[in-house]
Amino acid sequence: MNLVRPIAAPGRPAAATLGLIDCDIHPRVRDLGEFRPFLSDAEWHRLATYGIHARHGFAKGYPFPKAAPLACRRDAWPPGGGPPASDLPFLQHQLLDQYGLDFGVLNPLQPSGQGDVNDGLSIALARAVNEWQLAHWVDHEPRLKASIVVPYEDGAASAAEIRRWAGDKRFCQVLLMSRTCEPLGRQRYWPIWEAAAEAGLPVGIHAFGYSGHAMTNGGWPSFYVEEVQEHATSAQAQVSSMVVEGIFERFPTLKVILIECGFGWLPSLAWRLDATWKRLKDEVPHLKRAPSEYMREHVFVSTQPIEEPERPEHLLDTMEWIGWDRILFASDYPHWDFDDPRLAIPSFIPEEKRAAIYGGNARRLFGF
């Protein structure tokens, strides 16, 4: 892979010789009115009157209140007003220019309508969010790439939204939340996998969302710290489902990216699925290979929040088990647990491997 011309920026790591690509940036509307131009009168009426209803009871606020207002860095509120990451010039200043990013991937979270109890609203808002990403961000800043937000509980509508943008290079992936109301390998979601594979787009599965089920398989936890911990278990369930249902057998070119789900658990999940599959192969004859082989080939992970073993060098084992070519840098800007690229990727990782994590792997995956 060609080296990229180093970008002079105060926060750019010297090891980012294959580029610096941030796979997790969260743009936000100043207020819902920014979506108005992209909604019909009826859709706007529904949104403005009855609002967004995720699969929980908090019409305002969060089931597990965040660590900081809007879960954001306290220095990320734009001086001109509005919530963090709602202002392009300030985001350019604080993130793109500060770190010298070559590219940044936009992952809009709520209010995006994903996982809404009302499929119609979810469909309308997904389309609006996609138009808004272009109109407010990507068309003004070529370093930013959009994600195709899909109303994932409706497989057919999601596939239509993916096909609508297929081939448009301003979009680099399809975006799902990790807590869907059924496991992602089930048939209702197959149209999403089919359309993404057909469009040649990876599918990013970002932590969060509300499935409508308890946040653990043993009931509701009490604390935000548990909600954060349980992103790993939800993602484990999703990877298991996709592998065991044979998604990667059916869609052999499909790639998925686990964003902000952690990655330390991935090797042990692969070993566990292999061991279980070995004893219960008769149940799943549609699997032609060991689960770990599908995972190694099809699953990518983003780094933030970077795993921090008590003995830091243990990270090398984990990264080796996952595959050095499967790990993508992400900052999670503007959230409170933002990872600074210079600090988050430890310097004891060999330099060429750091270069791959900073940018080389993402360039190959996204085709930048």
């Binding site: 109301c181 089920h213 653990t216 548990e226 298991s240 279980t276 219960l280 149940e283 409170w336």
Partner: protein
Amino acid sequence: MTSPGQRAGGGTVIQGVIDCDLHPHVPGVAALLPYMDDYWRHTLVERGIQVLESASYPPNAPSTVRADWRGANGQAPATVDRVQAQALDRWGAAAGILNPLFPVQLPFSRDMSAAMARAVNDWVRAEWLEKDARLRAAILLPNGVEEAVAEIERLAPDHRFVQGLVLCMGEIPLGRREWWPVHAALEKHGLPLAIHAGSAWRHPPTSVGWPSWYVEEYASNSLGFQASLASLLTEGVFGKFPNLKVVLAESGVSWLPSFLWRLTKSWKGVRFEIPWVDRPPAEIIRDHVRLTVRPFDAPEDADTVSRLLDHLRSDEMLLWATDWPHAHFEEDATVPPGLPEGLLPKIMVDNPRATYARLREGGSA
């Protein structure tokens, strides 16, 4: 007799090995009737409640009972002579801990759950503990907290009962304060809380709903262990009950190190939310939590296993267990491949004895 210490063509015989996870199979509700009072005996008979089986372990699945341990009609081994022939005598165990999995957690009626738990515990005592002095057992705990505490108090005086037993997927997470009277009773009697794979089926096996295949369902047990441990830690159970030990049985083990990294990091970031957790979660969990080694979800090469053990940063957490009659290994390969020989005396003898105060007493009640 093939001693686990003699595997792989070498090593000395390890004396006094302790099998920390054996499953006595209740052959049906009828077997429990002699241990029920009149009301429940009549209720079960008159209402035709002849079977109670959990979806957690489909009886015919190859993993539920090893093929060569099944009876003539494929049934699970249900008598003490089977555990003797297939496990205790065969591998020379000095002691074995019975963890009954009869699903008393399934009934929605607390009273029924409690009646069944009492009957199972009395059945285990009469049909197993009385018949082999090497055997110890868990107190199978019913769903209701009051009833669970009563069952602990009823059986704790019999020191052949060495721990309380719950499943990794219940109705509410195990650290929640509703559970604390159970933790208090266990701590008072020096009994660990054993958390075993399995579900009370109050929730789907994953936080994102119902999987299609048993492969996924079985694998999702490890998610329940992770959530249970996170709950116990964040709610402050180990601070409130400093002498409480927790044993994770049939958990898979290899998920633990990265779980501790994540939990410790999250705690660093938001520990203001749980100020009673006043030292790193990884340290607390290493002090309080033990894990049985079957299944051991890792590759079989010694290098990977040794790196994994290094990540665990403790040689005191692992407990030898065959998980009889569940199927995790062939023939006599009771010890997971790749575990270093030098660690075996700890895993097979020292750690179980350190975990279970009552195993150090010797003799029976």
